[in-house]
Symmetry: C2
Amino acid sequence: MTTRRKTPVQVETVEPATCSVGLRLSILQKVPFFHVLTADEIGIVNEQFREFSFQPGEAIYFSGEQAAKLYVVAAGQVKLLRHSLSGQDVLLDVLQPGDYFGSFSPLADERYPDTAQAHTAVCVLSINAKAFHTLLNQYPSVALRVLDITARRLRETQEIVRQLSTDSVGQRIAAVLLKLAEKLGEVSNEIVLIQMPLSRVDLAQMTGTTTESASRIVSQFQKEGLIRTGRQWIAITDRTRLEKIAGIDTGG
Amino acid sequence: MTTRRKTPVQVETVEPATCSVGLRLSILQKVPFFHVLTADEIGIVNEQFREFSFQPGEAIYFSGEQAAKLYVVAAGQVKLLRHSLSGQDVLLDVLQPGDYFGSFSPLADERYPDTAQAHTAVCVLSINAKAFHTLLNQYPSVALRVLDITARRLRETQEIVRQLSTDSVGQRIAAVLLKLAEKLGEVSNEIVLIQMPLSRVDLAQMTGTTTESASRIVSQFQKEGLIRTGRQWIAITDRTRLEKIAGIDTGG
DNA sequence: CGCTACGTTGATCGCACTCAAGTATAGTGG
DNA sequence: CCACTATACTTGAGTGCGATCAACGTAGCG
């Protein structure tokens, strides 16, 4: 089945089967913080989860809503967004299968500070926040894994603060491309394709700039032979030089 | 003893006694995540800690060093900084007594991503990272409190990312002043003094701008009657208008 | 009293935003 | 298969916010 596609990005369609009850167990086993549990324990945990699927662009929850659930990505990708009063959205993170989001700290009466939106077609598992809290009490090793991952996310977010405070748009875009390639890179013929639909808007929202500026930088990078790009996709062809830019700005 | 001072900020000198062994126990009791422990348990935990004091400007640890310890602020204030290759520093957080920093997630072989620096004279308690990890395993309720606080910090840091991505320098400075006033505000005669040494450099490093821009904004705010300010101190005189500038929904 | 660090203010420059018009691509239905 | 449409993307011209460079004022401290 080698149909001629323009985009090299695999848009995995989430069939109903992917989101079925039967496969939930195998998905939960892959979740980092349940990895420490035995098969029997996961079986018990599994009963607490419900599954839902969303189409690209659909909101899983909105910022401001009562934070009542913890979610786990089973398949597809989920965007975490913060909104500004001015109307601009900031893309905080793109979550992969196995990643959790929503209400994961045992705080009562909180609201979601961000909006979770399906980036591709997704299947998510959800558990009541209180039930998750009980679970953390029951399995301390799980709580430590959750702490571990949350601490890592904090450090990564602090690094983004540093970049926004001190780096140029070009540096930030180079950095985000390298980070995405690290996470989703698909190597073939010396080039690294970022395996996700990635528009100029996405890129702009991730780096605190405008679509136009993101477009200009991306075009420039391509002209310089650092990347190859098309509609909704980017592949890195010269990682070393891109790393140099991300670290030390060439100035223009 | 009302001596005439130019700065209204109380520069609390940390006497040797403040950092003595005898007072450690009472300090640990005030640490949020040990609050759940009994007096006996705290006594045991206490033996694992050592105390150190630092003068303003001294580094407690440098970024890049092996992350071997968890620290708790006992007295004074600690700055968390990230450095850029360009030489600019970003001020991520100003920690208060009871706040923890350093290596608090049970990751092995990590390095500090930031530098911890004494902002005022400080006394800190430290514990070996592995010993702290053991402690978290021993007292799951403590681990949940740590997770709770870490998750809150993550949300706060994400909010800073949003601000840096979408807000103007003026908005960001207004927001940081309100946040500091919330945390350290000392009310007297309708005005709220931020109880910490706060220079234009600090303000600039917190909001991703330059000293000159920070100075211009602060001068402007004073001219408009929103704040009163002097060398190393700022007091808020018109919170409502400042909130409007910051873009916070007052809800009324 | 100087010295030093902090702070202010002015002039100028440039990066990135804004506004605007246009091109290319994927998907859709005839 | 091709026209048609919607969406993604590009590119240009002009502007402005905030950085940079520079000089000076001011508070605190020994």
